[in-house]
Amino acid sequence: MIEYYPFLTNFLSVKTFNNEIYIKLYLQITILGVEMTSEKILTLEKTSFKGALEIAKKGTHCGMCRFDFLETGLCPSGKKHGFLAYWPQGRMQIFKNLMEEKVKPTEKLIEIVNSCSLCGICDKQCNFATQLRPEKVAKALKDYVEELDKGDFQNIPEDKNIIALRKIVGEEWATNDPIITSSYISSIIAPDSKFNFYIVMPKDAQELSKVIKYANSNNLPYLPRSGGTLLSMAAPTVLSNAFGLEKGIVIDLLRMNQLEIHPESQTAMVGAGITAFELQKEAHKHNLRANVAEAGAHICANIASTGILSTWGNKYGWAADNFIDVETVDDEGNIINHSDLEIENPYTTEYGFTNISLVPPLIVTKVTTRLNPVFDDEEAVFVPFENIQDAIDLSFKVARRGMGFSNVILSRKYLAEFISPTPNIAKDFEYILEKYMKLNYAVDIICNKDEKKIIESMVDYTIDKSTLKSLILGCPKLSTLKDSEFMKILSEEKDPLKAIFAGPMKEHFEKALEATPENISKIYDEDLQDFFKKAYSKPELTNIIWLHEHRIFPSRLMRQRMFLPMGGVIWTEYEKNLLDWINMFVNVGDKNKLIHALGFISPFDQGRFACLEYDFYYDHNDPDAKKRVDKAIIESQERSLQIDGILSALNFYFKGLYRKEHVLFPIAKAISDDDRELFRELLKNIIGGV
């Protein structure tokens, strides 16, 4: 009966409103429970909702709205309340959920919309990364709430679990509110799951420990969440169930925001709530540098998940190399450090392709991470290549000789996506790189001046700072040159790359790009142009080294569409298999009609190994595309195991807390046919299996 209570009150209230739309709406929703497509609702709704929903759907949880990378400040409400629901990306998710009737309004929703002052910070941040306007969604959400009546908001009573959890973390840091819960959809909770979840935000290891002990003795599953980017990548795919949480307690670690730099020992104490960008920024104040993943990734989570794969790995290391010590909480709720003497060996894990882990072995709450000195004579060297073998030769040679801090082979695609402010510009840019310039790969090295000299002595020509700067600020103009005479002439050169980057055309080219903050800002919406003009005037936005450290560009790969990074690690002794591996991805990508491209290849451990990222791109709102990605994942994963010298992604995840020596040695060989069967079975269970 209680079921119908809200409806009746709604019904009456709505009736007094005498609003046809709402009567229909509620009849359908609450009594008939008729399946309604959002389309239908939208015809009934204000059309502005439609636009907002479109925006919301395009959101990809890149997480860039959760730290201050443009000095706009941070979403005040998110900063204050913590739960994802109070952040721009959460609002988008909530709006989507409401429109798609995944969830009904609750009283919390009122507080959530009220907490947003429509300050516009999110629009600036999001526009830089994904070209979206989350503020419009926030506004729409406000309007939506406006139009509802008090009675429309369900009151969510406390249950025994939430009472217990609140005792541990405090009133405001634990909730079972469906609206808040639903904001975690697609970044830890599967879209189709019911909302029998609790969200808890412990402030330290002690609270987390209590939460886990409670969860265990009450048989509640749990999963930690930090930036959620990795999870959001898995969410639309077959890996959704495998990586996500099906019910129980979502542990949001955002509140663990301790951050101390220890210049003397060149280390930093970093809490689980701290992002790569935040650490890097702090480290730089002391002229130190951290080895970090993408700007939005949380250091602690990232260490546990992939051991921090960066372009700096060749010098700074991987997995346990990154940290001096970690504070973790195990699945019995014990707080342990890797330095503890009386614990079980925390540095080793079973070797072999069956060692797949879908969750971190321990929840990292704090890490003492290594920092590295920044030298005053650091420079970037960009060497363009038409074919990949040449690029590999150079990159690996430099790596084996221990030269360079950051060393990576970037694909044309990455280069274009990173520096182009919009998807369309990126597209044209890439077209030009491919068709006219014949620039398919760039060996991209950060090194000191001596090393720069040496590397330059190994190659004919490089792309210098001024050209790179012109490309960043001039890419809109460049993309307009798509069919220009200039390009045609260029393409007829014997060596177009040389001509344009080292030859007579360099000057003309740079002039032609009219590279100024002013010009690039023009591609943004009228009301944002001033802001972006300022943003692009900041030296760091065109400072290649800064960009390599702070890694704010990779988020652009997720603008308004999704991608799934595949790949893993290859032993450079097996370099010859690297091309086969890449070609395999190419075939799988084509076969499944996906946009796909090599991301990067980066050597590490003095060139002993290299990690490769190959990306499948797709529209996360297109069910058919998702199916094709699934196929691609499964096939490429399986075929990766049939190549000698490779440790593929699925075997690579959540091994970052171990010594690389125990994960990477000995060299993995192609698996036998029996084992292949076994692996198929395994994969079927992971993916098919609920």
Partner: protein, 653 residues
């Protein structure tokens, strides 16, 4: 004459031999074939120290001093030596001694006795059990065998209440430990015993040695398997640095190793391998992929075991002092590193440590060079000079005429070489080094020469001689050749040493850095004790430490000098070895040494950011992150008091 009188009478024949024997310092070089002369056939065949040249020397000492009486085993020991002379060649290269004479004397001594003079040592219950494990031949309680381990694992006055076992496999070692554990028998493993021999000369003797029970001589675990794909090697604990390096080189790879004679596994476990290559190749657990060990209950454990109690963690608290291993390493899978075709050595001479450190620290931070160290002119002289006298003159010349006291010593590829030469105004290249190595006797003879007087008046003698006009004159003057250097050896050995010095590797500085056969010369006919340790790579800190160690050394009038300074963690930390030299036959010098050890230990523990070398012992299997972070703050006075008491009990007890 009574039997005893006869024995005493015969014994007096041993006197000459005794005087040679007591000069021996257990450098261990006679256990490896570093000159291509082969190794002592009897030692190779029979294993026990007694059958090796240095063991025979200990036996002669024991017989002469009456510590043991002739035994059955002694007969075999004497017989097994064919006086082939290999030991003389090897020993002469490093220490200038002639162990063959000792072996000969021992043979003659044994021949003079008749069978009834040889005591038959009975097999007791324990020995029986041990033999069941390792086989008849490889366990013994014979005093002649036991005493051969004197000074390398047992102290002079330890008596002979011991057993020696030489297991062949990890499993056998495990069985021995199980047995010892169950029966409350103390035991201690032994590699080549060089490090032990150093400490046994000091007040730490009791703490590092075995007072009774089972000596595990691990020489027989000799497995070496190189894996080219993985660039790794599986190494048994019986394998020496030289042997591994030789094998690795065959595959175009290089291992990170300590001195030539050190056993790789033992060295990993004991000090984590301190070398000049550490800045590039790492330290501690960086060295190995996997390690196989025996715990105190005799279980075989691997570092990759998940159930194992954390094998990677430790700390640098002053209370965490370990002077004997808690586990016994029997095998390790070590990393190997690529060798580049264009590797070269560059040496940059400096007058002051200050200047040298400026360059070295800069290079370390920028990770220039595969091997990188600051070495003292003392080290350089000792290493390249064939005799102590020549070494002394060589050092005198470099100090007083050439004005170089320190050298930044880099092995690097051609690219790094450009960088170094860019930064330095004078460098000593490969050729000049060859000149100095082969010409050192002549060079030393120039001590009072006009040539050097003129040179010393130059504004910059170093430049003049290594980069300037006088370079060619010097090269002519020294007339460097294998023949020249061979002349310093005894007549009967000159032909051999001419051949040896004709080998390219003997003058190939890169090879010498990789195979490390020269450091043993520091132990020729005298001993030295290591001071220093790991310290934050800050110039001032390092110089202060150096000065402090010099001050104390001088105070106790011990010959002393900086050895070398190498780096770790891209120049974040430095390892400083400072050496106190002493005459191991002079009791008084022992006293002075011991006082200096205690004093320097306390002074070093006060320094912020320093881990004294004693605290690095037996921490090599751990992750360096857990040992070096955070660096010690320096002890408070009460802490020092506690330490003082600790030291007292170690010394006294």
């Amino acid at each position: 004459m009574t039997k005893d009188e006869i024995l005493i009478d015969i014994k007096s024949d041993l006197q000459k031999a005794f005087y040679i024997a007591e000069k021996g310092t257990h450098c261990g070089m006679c256990k490896i074939d570093f000159l291509g002369s082969g190794v002592c056939p009897s030692g190779k065949k029979n294993g026990f120290a007694a059958y090796w040249p240095d063991g025979r020397m200990e036996i002669v000492k024991a017989l002469y001093s009456g510590k043991i009486r002739p035994t059955e085993e002694l007969k075999n020991i004497a017989k097994s030596c064919k006086v082939c002379g290999i030991c003389d060649k090897q020993c002469n290269f490093t220490t200038h001694l002639r162990p063959e004479r000792v072996a000969k004397a021992l043979k003659e001594y044994v021949n003079k006795l008749d069978d009834k003079d040889f005591e038959k040592i009975l097999e007791d219950k324990i020995l029986k059990e041990l033999r069941l494990i390792v086989g008849e031949k490889w366990a013994s309680n014979d005093p002649a065998i036991i005493v051969s381990y004197t000074k390398t694992i047992i102290v002079q006055d330890a008596g002979v209440n011991f057993y020696v076992v030489m297991p062949k496999t990890t499993e056998e070692v495990a069985e021995v430990i199980k047995y010892a554990y169950k029966n409350n028998i103390p035991y201690l493993p032994r590699g080549n015993g060089t490090l032990l021999s150093m400490f046994i000369e000091t007040l730490l003797a009791k703490a590092v040695s075995l007072e009774k029970g089972i000596i595990l001589d691990l020489r027989r675990l000799k497995k070496i398997e190189i894996d080219e794909d993985n660039k790794t090697a599986i190494v048994g604990v019986g394998v020496t640095a030289f042997e591994l390096q030789k094998e690795a080189y065959k595959h175009g790879l290089r291992a990170l190793v300590a001195e030539a004679e050190a056993h790789v596994c033992v060295n990993i476990a004991s000090v984590g391998i301190v070398s000049t290559w550490g800045n590039t190749y790492g330290w501690g657990s960086d060295n190995f992929i996997e390690a196989t060990l025996i715990d105190s209950k005799g279980n075989i454990i691997h570092h990759s075991d998940e159930e194992l109690t954390n094998p990677y963690s430790t700390n640098n608290s002053f209370t965490n002092l370990t002077l004997t291993p808690s586990t016994i390493i029997t095998e390790a899978t070590v990393k190997l590193h690529p060798i580049f075709k264009d590797e070269e050595a560059v040496l940059v001479p400096f007058e002051t440590l200050d200047e040298a450190l400026d360059l070295a620290i800069e290079l370390a931070k920028r990770r220039v060079g595969l091997s990188l160290a600051v070495i003292s002119s003392k080290y350089l002289s000792e290493f390249i000079c064939p005799t102590n006298e020549i070494a002394e003159d060589f050092e005198y010349i470099s100090k007083n005429y050439l004005k170089f006291n320190f050298i930044v010593d880099v092995v690097c590829d051609k690219y790094d070489k450009m960088i170094v030469e860019d930064l330095a105004d004078v460098t000593i290249d490969q050729n000049m080094m060859r000149t100095l190595i082969l010409g050192s006797p002549r060079f030393a003879s120039l001590k009072e020469s006009e040539f050097l007087k003129i040179l010393s008046e130059e504004k910059n003698p170093l430049k003049a001689i290594f980069a300037g006009p006088m370079k060619s004159h010097l090269e002519k003057a020294l007339d460097p050749s294998p023949k020249q250097v061979a002349k310093v050896y005894d007549k009967d050995l000159q032909v051999f040493f001419e051949k040896v010095y004709s080998k390219p590797e003997m003058t190939d500085v890169v090879w010498l850095h990789a195979f490390r056969i020269l450091p043993s010369r520091l132990m020729r006919q005298r001993m030295f004790m290591l001071r220093g340790g790991y310290i934050v790579a800050d110039k001032k800190k390092i110089i202060d430490l150096n000065d402090m160690l010099k001050k104390v050394g001088d105070k106790y009038n011990l010959p002393n000098a900086l050895g070398f300074i190498s780096f770790l963690e891209n120049g974040k930390f430095a390892f400083v070895e400072y050496d106190y030299y002493f005459d191991h036959l002079n009791p008084d010098s022992h006293n002075r040494l011991n006082q200096s050890i205690v004093e320097t230990l306390q002074l070093q523990l006060k320094i912020k950011g320093l881990i004294p070398i004693e605290y690095v012992f037996h921490k090599g299997l751990f992750r360096k992150e857990h040992l070096f972070y955070p660096m010690p703050k320096g002890l408070s006075d009460d802490e020092l008091k506690i330490l003082g008491e600790m030291v007292q009990t170690v010394v006294g007890g």
